[in-house]
């Protein structure tokens, strides 16, 4: 079942550099597969495979447009990762905020003496 984690888990989907490149490309707007193939100099089967993985974890959605299919980024599944990152930052900043307050307090005391 080694492969199942890749296709069912947003974190593993993002761990692949080519897939991140595809998502970065889609930030600016939706694109057909052919455009992604050209922009990233990857093969069509490669891009299609990555798009399939990204679709399975919900990071990419597609819609038909004439004879093509347009792919677009869905950033919502990334939110839990950002929330986690924010918590990490919060713990560090909280300690440094306390340090900052304390430094202000010490300097305030110095001024009033």
């Amino acid at each position: 079942m080694a492969r199942s984690s890749t296709t069912s888990d947003v974190f593993n989907a993002l761990a692949e550099a080519d897939r991140r490149a595809i998502l970065s490309l889609l930030i600016v707007g939706e694109k057909p597969v052919g455009q992604i193939v050209m922009d990233l100099s990857m093969s069509q089967p490669q891009v299609s495979k990555h798009l399939r993985v990204l679709s399975q974890v919900g990071l990419v959605k597609s819609r038909p447009d004439g004879r093509h299919r347009l792919y677009r980024l869905e950033p919502q599944p990334l939110q839990p990762m950002r929330d986690w990152l924010a918590k990490f930052e919060q713990a560090i900043n909280s300690r440094l905020d306390r340090l900052d307050d304390y430094l202000q307090e010490l300097q305030g005391q110095g001024d009033s003496q």
Binding site: N12, L73, L78, Q79, I92
Partner: protein, 166 residues
């Protein structure tokens, strides 16, 4: 009224073994150095969320030891950090070994560099872990540790742009 610099720390992952935190303080360098190294100051600032500090000793000289403990906010267990000073250069640099009893296998070196410009002191706080497993303790979130450096940069890029577009 002094301008506040709350929440402005920049957190980076320069290599797979490192966490680098950069932050500025509206205070002279000597004062920042003292607050980071003198026991009577450290015990007032060391606990991230104001937890109770039960133990705090700093023997700031090369080869000297430090140790501090605060009580975890959720279950009150001891959270003990300790190590030994490797370099002591007041008021610009402190290097020490960094151990946390909760992660007995994790070894790191903590390097704090201070510099002052126009009354603002910049602190560069680098944790260098002995191995990647060690640093991943700090940055672990399910599968994310496999590629944390890239993913972290990537997330900022995507979510910031998505947020701006929304």
């Amino acid at each position: 009224m002094t301008a506040t610099r709350h929440g402005t720390a920049v957190i980076e992952f320069p290599t797979e073994l490192e966490v680098l935190i950069t932050r500025q303080f509206e205070a002279p360098i000597q004062l920042v150095y003292d607050v980071l190294t003198k026991t009577e100051h450290v015990r007032n600032t060391i606990a991230p969320f104001g937890e109770v500090v039960t133990e705090c000793s700093f023997d700031v000289r090369v080869g000297g030891a430090y140790r501090y403990t605060f009580l975890a906010p959720d279950d009150g267990r001891d959270m003990t950090f300790h190590g030994q000073f490797l370099e002591v250069e007041p008021p610009t640099r402190i290097v020490d070994t960094w151990r946390y009893d909760g992660w007995p296998d994790v070894k790191a070196v903590e390097t704090v560099d201070l510099s002052e410009s126009n009354g603002v002191t910049t602190m560069r706080w680098l944790l260098t872990f002995a191995d990647k497993a060690g640093r991943d303790h700090m940055t672990k979130f399910d599968g994310i540790e496999a590629n944390f450096d890239n993913v972290e940069n990537y997330l900022r890029q995507v979510l910031d742009k998505a947020g701006a577009a929304a």
